[in-house]
């Protein structure tokens, strides 16, 4: 193993070098620790950093997929009565675009940051349950596969090689096509085919992945902090992770049950949302948005966390009003549960309910505003350096504010009656999604990739990424406000001439290509950094938090010895603060560092979801033997969990100086 190169790491007495050999687990099988094969090493890893990197890579891939879908959408809409793609294909594209972006791109991107950073920021060895962490990752992959499998079937259908014969016989939509919030009753089996089943099963699996990951992070943050890392000393990003994890824990059950009910409607003939049996389709909307609104804060709070790290670093000042920023994050999360019906202002809720949800929604502007004000306060009197991460963070504040303001326009229910389901909504949430979350995530990538890879960015391509993506996103999404107000409904695959929408649509489409070029440059920049970046050093940005105190990239064990944290902004205080705020390290007790063992079982258990999900969905489409495949999947999950329980946690000890 490698040696510790941390500058402030006191040297420890050296140990006799010896080679680590994998041991047997309680099952009698060899554990995949210290495997020679890189692939096996990554597949079985329980290292939060590797898991984070995998989350990030997969999420970036899906960002491109979702973006590509958006580009096709935009191309179709460039001209009135365009027939580049059929109505059905268009509907599938926007459904998959929304689902992909939210569940397969932004959420896992956030998860990537959580995984990589949180244990480092709190000075922990790893997350609380490393194997559950691996399970979450692979369950996410399984869900992504199941949701996207429809594209394969759809391709086969187009080639005439497949058609549905089961309960959804005659329907040829194998990719979900009911919108990302899948309002009943269009998800019923009279209206949509197997695509809906893939969507249900995929989201259900992604829900399992998110829930397990979120619980893991709450426990990690509460229990695994280094000595002295009090709650109010934690970096804001870690705080936001905690809030988001709690939101996931409490919001996902609503959609899990709703999806289960929907699945029962489709498979077992229940009538939760089927009008013929007395079901009320509107119940779905409530259950979905009870999850769905907290979900949008699940997406944005990590972005706010990232920005709250970047702004102070590049202003050389502590975050203005740390406690209030943290508190307002928690308030946003909590209030987020009380506003779900603002997505349903046009469903006839009644006066009192409409008024209540209107006012509650407006109230969210206050804690959000507090954050904006404190970010401005952080810049005020600081020394603002325009490094790459900072440019994007500054862009975030501006663009997010704009998106927030259109949110406020929505929150006034009577005004929303004109905006709901029009392009105005699309404009609103793309401003918060691209202008907000996406810019923040890019800022995070520019900020932390040197830590992750140990390599520094080359040159100033980042400026061009900023130029093209910022211009692109404004040109794409600003005109959409006007489109919406001029009456263009969303989710329409084409439109007639003469409604005054032609120019705007063309401009939007051009903008989306500019944006795509910006993102293309980002990918190029990442590849360049990866392939030929210069060594970054431990702390290239003169940053403030603990993750910069270790090596870049960090060692498997994160910190050779556990740091003792004397203050908030621990590294900053260490570098610039008084003597008594230096980071100390715990005495070496000679045992070495205990490392968790790697394992196949989480992956086996979670990949069992693939046959389970596909089996149940294909059963609906009438493919033979799919019931057995589903049962096999169930069996695989059970087996994985059982072996996981029996094999025992294992673990081995590392001595950082060994290799010397």
């Amino acid at each position: 193993m490698s040696t510790v190169t941390e500058t402030h790491e006191p040297s420890t007495h050296s140990k006799e070098p010896h080679v680590l050999k994998p041991e047997r687990s309680n099952l009698g099988l060899m554990r995949p620790d210290h495997s020679k094969s890189v692939i096996i090493d990554w597949l079985t890893t329980v290292d939060h950093k590797k898991i984070g990197i995998m989350y990030g890579a997969i999420a970036l891939f899906f960002l491109l997929v979702g973006g590509l879908e958006a580009l096709i959408i935009r191309t179709q809409l460039a001209f009135p009565e365009n027939d580049l793609i059929s109505a059905q294909r268009y509907n599938q594209l926007f459904t998959m675009h929304g689902t992909t972006m939210i569940f397969l791109a932004i959420m896992p991107l956030n998860a990537a940051f959580f995984n990589f950073l949180v244990p480092l920021q709190i000075g922990a060895r790893d997350v609380a349950f490393p194997r559950i962490n691996s399970f979450s990752l692979w369950a996410f992959v399984a869900g992504a596969l199941v949701i996207n499998f429809g594209w394969v079937l759809q391709a086969l259908e187009v080639m005439g090689l497949f058609s549905a014969s089961g309960p959804t016989a005659g329907m040829n939509d194998f990719v979900p096509s009911m919108g990302w919030f899948g309002y009943a009753p269009i998800t019923g089996k009279e209206f949509t085919g197997a695509g809906t089943d893939f969507w249900i099963m995929g989201l259900q699996i992604l829900g399992v992945a998110s829930l397990s990951a979120a619980m893991n992070f709450v426990v990690t943050i509460i229990n695994m902090r280094a000595p002295g890392m009090k709650m109010m000393r934690m970096p804001v990003f870690t705080w936001m992770t905690l809030v988001v994890s709690l939101l996931i824990v409490f919001a996902f059950p609503a959609i899990t049950i709703a999806l289960a009910q929907l699945m029962f409607d489709r498979v077992f003939g229940t009538s939760f949302f089927v009008t013929a049996g007395g079901g009320q389709p509107i119940l779905w909307q409530h259950l979905f948005w009870i999850f769905g609104h907290p979900e949008v804060y699940i997406l944005v709070l990590p972005a706010m966390g990232i920005v709250s790290e970047v702004l102070p670093t590049f202003s050389k000042k502590p975050l203005f009003g740390y406690a209030i920023v943290v508190f307002s994050g928690a308030v946003i999360g909590f209030l987020g549960f009380a506003v779900w019906s603002h997505h349903m202002f046009t469903t006839g809720l009644g006066k009192v309910a409409t008024a209540a949800f209107s006012l509650l929604t407006m109230a969210i502007a206050v804690p959000t505003g507090v954050k904006i004000f404190n970010w401005v306060g952080t810049l005020w009197g600081g020394r603002v350096r325009f490094s790459a991460p900072m440019i994007f963070a500054l862009g975030f504040v501006w663009m997010f504010m704009m998106g927030g303001f259109s949110g406020i326009m929505h929150s006034s229910a009577p005004a929303d009656a004109q905006q709901q389901d029009s392009y105005f909504v699309i404009a609103h949430f793309h401003y918060v999604a691209i202008g907000g979350i996406f810019l923040a995530v890019v800022s995070g990538i520019y900020f932390w990739l040197p830590k992750i890879l140990g390599k520094m960015w080359k040159g100033n391509l980042s400026i061009w990424v900023a130029v093209f993506s910022t211009i692109g996103l404004n040109v794409t999404f600003f005109p959409m406000h006007f489109l919406g107000l001029l009456g263009m409904p969303r989710r329409t695959h084409t439109y007639l001439e003469g409604f005054g929408w032609e120019t705007y649509n063309l401009v939007c489409t051009i903008g989306s290509y500019i944006l795509a070029f910006g993102i293309f440059l980002l990918v190029v920049d990442i590849i360049r950094c990866f392939r030929s970046g210069e060594p970054a050093g431990d702390d290239p940005w003169d940053a403030r938090t603990l993750e910069w105190a270790t090596t870049s990239p960090p060692q498997v064990y994160n910190f050779g010895r556990t740091p003792i944290i004397p203050a908030r902004d621990a590294l900053w205080e260490h570098k610039h603060g008084p003597e008594n705020r230096r980071i100390q390290y715990e005495e070496d007790d000679g045992h070495g560092i205990h490392m968790p063992s790697q394992s196949w079982m989480p992956m086996i258990a979670s990949l069992g979801f693939v046959p389970l999900g596909l089996g149940l969905s294909l059963m609906q489409a009438g493919v033979a033997f799919m019931g057995y495949v589903a049962i096999f999947g169930l069996f695989m999950i059970a087996l994985g969990v059982a072996l996981w329980a029996i094999e025992g946690p294992g673990g081995y000890h590392l001595h950082p100086e060994e290799a010397k």
Binding site: A124, R125, D126, V127, A128, F129, P130, R131, I132, L211, M215, N216, V218, V219, I222, N223, M224, R225, A226, P227, M229, V249, F250, A251, F252, P253, A254, T256, I257, A258, A260, Q261, F264, D265, F268, G269, T270, S271, F272, G277, G278, G279, Q280, L283, L287, I290, T562, D589, H591, I593, H594, P596, V641, W644, A645, G648, P649, G651
Partner: protein, 203 residues
């Protein structure tokens, strides 16, 4: 599943709550939302279609009270089992756990009986919203009970392997216990809002 990086001495616990215990409480908090969704779905449809279905003609208050009582007692035994484990009294732990498992199985038996009975009388998953919500809700609860029984059986077997560790295993049992009690309190709610209130003024 003992799976924790802090398994050995190098972990630092900020608050001295066992990881697993915290995890279980979080899960239970989450489970409140799960059952909240199920129960409220049921109540909503009862509220808007009060005339659609007359459940008192199906429900047997005697049977349900009996199974409620059984579940409460199992909860009591579970509490004793956890306590025994903390005191290191393996024998007492086993005795109580067998009781819990036994009662759990009786409860499941009652539920299976109830379901088949109702199905005979014409209430099925397909018979309107009442059937749908009732079966999914009580069924999900039943699955929870079944998982709990399975878990405790595993614990019981494990106690004979001699691998039990004083502290770790006590926590494991406590966590299983928390789960079991939660299943019990969910039933307390269901018993009242799904069964009992239907009978008010109808007897």
């Amino acid at each position: 599943m003992s799976d924790s990086a802090t398994h050995h001495e190098d972990g630092h616990k900020s608050l001295i709550i066992e990881n697993k215990k915290l995890l279980m409480w979080l899960f239970l908090g989450s489970d409140c939302m799960f059952f909240g969704t199920l129960i409220s779905t049921h109540l909503i449809y009862r509220k808007i279609y009060p005339q659609e279905f007359e459940p008192t003609s199906l429900f047997s208050l005697e049977l349900t009270s009996f199974s409620t009582f059984i579940l409460l007692m199992s909860s009591f035994l579970m509490a004793l089992a956890v306590s025994a484990m903390h005191k290191g009294q393996l024998k007492s732990f086993r005795r109580n756990t067998v009781g819990v498992i036994f009662f759990g199985l009786i409860f499941l038996g009652c539920q299976v009986y109830e379901f088949t009975e109702f199905a005979h009388l014409g209430l099925t998953l397909e018979s309107g919203t009442f059937g749908s919500t009732f079966y999914l809700m009580t069924g999900t609860h039943g699955v929870h009970v079944a998982i709990g029984v399975f878990w405790l059986i595993c614990m019981l077997f494990y106690s004979y392997t001699g691998k039990m560790d004083a502290h770790e295993s006590a926590v494991d049992v406590e966590v299983a216990g928390l789960y079991w009690h939660f299943v019990d309190i969910v039933w307390i709610i269901i018993f009242t809002v799904v069964y009992l209130i239907e009978f008010i003024g109808k007897t």
